[in-house]
Symmetry: C2
Subunit: 153 residues, 2 copies
């Protein structure tokens, strides 16, 4: 059976970038696979499978799609003394999805919190300073939501 492809990206159609991004991040599993890869450095099939508790056929399908979409790369991985195994690693484009996941995490923490509080925080490496995801100007300062506007180019 051919692996099901992502919905195609027709360059003519006037999808906005949000829609185009959502055609890569098709569904919940796609987000969660990227979460494992980006936040927890999961690389191996069996680890995705166990951590996400996802059926193997679905996992295969999502990994394939994410590789196709250019956000994961399938490489080989060799542990000393073992045979090589496939490893799925974020590409640079995949890495950039960290901002999207950070924004989702921040929103979830604020608006659908667990009773016992969040389990993960975003910090700066080294300083351990807490980080937020925000709109910022190129020259530095972040801008409050009510001063953000979206405009046609």
């Amino acid at each position: 059976m051919a692996p099901s492809r992502s919905p195609e990206l027709d360059p003519q159609r006037p999808y906005c970038s949000i829609e185009r991004a959502l055609i890569v991040l098709t569904d919940r599993w796609a987000f969660l696979v990227m979460r494992e890869a980006l936040l927890y450095d999961v690389e191996r099939f069996a680890d995705f499978r166990e951590r996400l508790d996802i059926a193997t056929n679905i996992l295969t399908n999502r990994l394939d799609r994410l590789v196709q979409a250019g956000v994961l790369e399938r490489t080989e991985y060799r542990e000393p003394g073992s045979r090589t195994r496939p490893a799925y690693r974020p590409t640079p484009a995949g890495r950039d999805l960290t901002v999207v996941l950070g924004a989702l995490q921040q929103w979830g923490d604020e608006h659908v919190p667990r009773e016992d509080g969040p389990t993960m925080t975003r910090r700066e490496q080294g300083s351990a300073a807490p980080l937020r995801v925000d709109f910022v100007r190129d020259d530095g300062p972040s801008v409050p939501l009510d001063r953000v506007e979206f405009a046609r180019v």
Copy 2:
């Protein structure tokens, strides 16, 4: 027929905040409805319907879910000389999703661009300075991706 509910948020289960956020933003239509509400100030059923080209039964279902989830509020709206109409408006929690949509838009612009370039930009009201969505420290400066870490609390 009862409107189909969002998947429930069991407060016991160890969903991370990303997963919890995705239980509100169940699917592509949910994101796109919020895009219309937040970026284009769409409020009325007929306007969502026409702009998204979505079937009425699905639109009803997504609007209901988003109201249930507390990101949209159903209020009344009266134009002079007309009868009142329902209006769906973002709640404060809904407004905060702007950051998530901004992050998706930015990622889409960079990594799945249209051939003729992006159609929307994020700007600061007043100054019209271009805005990015980024990780920032509380005391101001934004932090490059490779210095962002996620840590268990």
